[in-house]
Symmetry: C2
Subunit: 412 residues, 2 copies
Amino acid sequence: MSNTSIDASRLLGRLAELGAIGCDADGRLVRLAASDADKLGRDRLVAWIEAAGLELAIDRIGNIFGIWAPDSTQDRAPLLLGSHIDTVIDAGIYDGCYGVLSALEVIETLKASGFAPSRPIAVAAFTNEEGVRYAPDMMGSLVYAGGLDVETALATRGTDGSLLGDELKRIGYAGEKEPGFLKPHAYIELHIEQGPVLEREGLSLGAVENLQGISWQRVTIEGDANHAGTTPMTMRRDAGHASARVITFLRERAMASNTQTVATVGCLEFQPNAINVIPSKAIFTVDLRDPDEDRLKEEEAALARFLESLSAEEQVTISVERLARFEPVKFDEGIVATIEAAARARALPCRRMTSGAGRDAQMIARIAPSAMIFVPSKGGISHNPREFTSHDDLVAGADVLLDVVSTLTQEE
Amino acid sequence: MSNTSIDASRLLGRLAELGAIGCDADGRLVRLAASDADKLGRDRLVAWIEAAGLELAIDRIGNIFGIWAPDSTQDRAPLLLGSHIDTVIDAGIYDGCYGVLSALEVIETLKASGFAPSRPIAVAAFTNEEGVRYAPDMMGSLVYAGGLDVETALATRGTDGSLLGDELKRIGYAGEKEPGFLKPHAYIELHIEQGPVLEREGLSLGAVENLQGISWQRVTIEGDANHAGTTPMTMRRDAGHASARVITFLRERAMASNTQTVATVGCLEFQPNAINVIPSKAIFTVDLRDPDEDRLKEEEAALARFLESLSAEEQVTISVERLARFEPVKFDEGIVATIEAAARARALPCRRMTSGAGRDAQMIARIAPSAMIFVPSKGGISHNPREFTSHDDLVAGADVLLDVVSTLTQEE
């Protein structure tokens, strides 16, 4: 299929058009799940799906499907492609939308080329991947994969007090289909990397072979709030200094490990937070990620051991609260190899890589062989209007998806 | 004089009485400078000064003086004793008040005993030592010592928008005397330690020989706000981690120095402060103190050198803003030795020490030989209702002040 290509101007035009829908009064792109702006984006996608002659389906959690099922394939499980079109606040235009619109583009291209797939091919836009308005994130795909009861999900109370179920009804996207109604044969998600690796290494594509497990913890260290001038160094129980030791420990350990482990302290608060008072309390978050579950467990254990010795050394009290925990996901080796082969055939430099962020693919991997394709993100920036991927990279990614899809639907 | 003693019950009774004046609706002791509550405290002090038969004087910045000047001493410079009676919000009852009321107690005791001093003895209560409502702190003594123009000080705008000059007039404490009108022969301030050293070492008294220089800086570190999951450790510019390195550097250097240097990071803020985002910015304060000016300068220089190398190593941008800087103060050797001798004569365990906090004595030291006497603070706690010094320690401190005053006013 390396001589067929997607319609670059159609794909790029749709990305720009969808990216212009849902700007708020400050000019920020904001399409929070099940909001009025999300409705406008959904309506646009549905119109494109229908114009392409695909069968439209919406399930009870609001996931949107566009299904191409030629008569001869009706009894077979579909190859599912997709991502999401909801956004964060002040978002870029690529995150999620690129995967959904490329999937639609690939289907339209194959359909127009006279290609006869061995099974249906469908595009999915999953509800509330970002989780900004309703927790947890990746909710639509999680419900679809059976990991969360649909009634529970619909009863989720948003940050604005709204119920997701009510809001889906209000915007006209509370569908009839039961989540999971379309059991995928396999799932492929094309996405911007949202990280710096491909750009730094000068590569066009990532064949994503796994997804990091995530461990989120909140650590609270308590010492004594004494006077910064009158308390000798040896008589201090400085919660702030103890928190700094945790940060440098995590960093040095991750740097020395020669693995894919990443460790981040993103939130930190001192109390009483006064210039001349030794901090009595430091509260901070620890984000640990690793694609290997055993190693992730070992990182958690190493932190626990360090906190125990720190508590004794610095005479501080330490408590830890678990905020979130996801096991790593291993994607399907066959699909990953197919992605690599497709990139090779188009002479696009490609590497295997790990997804550092959560994706809908990690949920769908529970019910079908799955994999992802990454394209570069300029400066690794995303969730920001400066999010950018070059047109060449966007088109190359969609072309590789096209080749992978045609390979996987002519095999049998 | 070791067989004379102050009237313990009068001193402790007055401390309790003054400590009960100025409780707010929540039961917190709050006598901010030149407030209605401060007026009530001042009125009580003035009544005691007048009842003791002392000459009352109030200067333009509101400093209150009670002067005992027997006829034969009128042409001589007075020995000045004092501290302040304004408080922080939710204060303890000892900070400042103990020094003022002990000074009054010592004068009354000497007067009643028939003692004939060689020079006048006066008690001073300096305006706005705490600096909570009007900046800078130690304002009354600073103006008195000529370090700040009285007009400028009176024009200070408070945190509540008020002008100090207006408020002093309103509460009836805008006096006529020019600050500095009474040129002290020497100055002695008795104060609670507000630190843990005396209690930890089981001592009754500190003969304070110097006062730390103070250097306050605000450091801002800027890196890149990248995704905690998708950004490999080696590709990070983590402002949060860089700030943690500064905190551990300062701590380790101060611990290793074997000097009186103290270093504290009391305030710290991360931006964007999100669990899954590498901090792009860390803003924190550095409080450095040392009784030796050369060493304090060297500590500042060492920090500057560290920040420079850190900036290069971590690829972060660092800027530093100076917030405050006071040189160390050396107190008068003769008075310090007199304090030690007085403690020895009463068999009270005593050590020489450094004041870690700013005091009125550091200002008056600009115009007269000065020193301080410390008594223990339970747990090192102050600026807090849990501030506590035992009755025995309070009485012992006042007795030593009595002995020092009588020694210094019978010398010539």
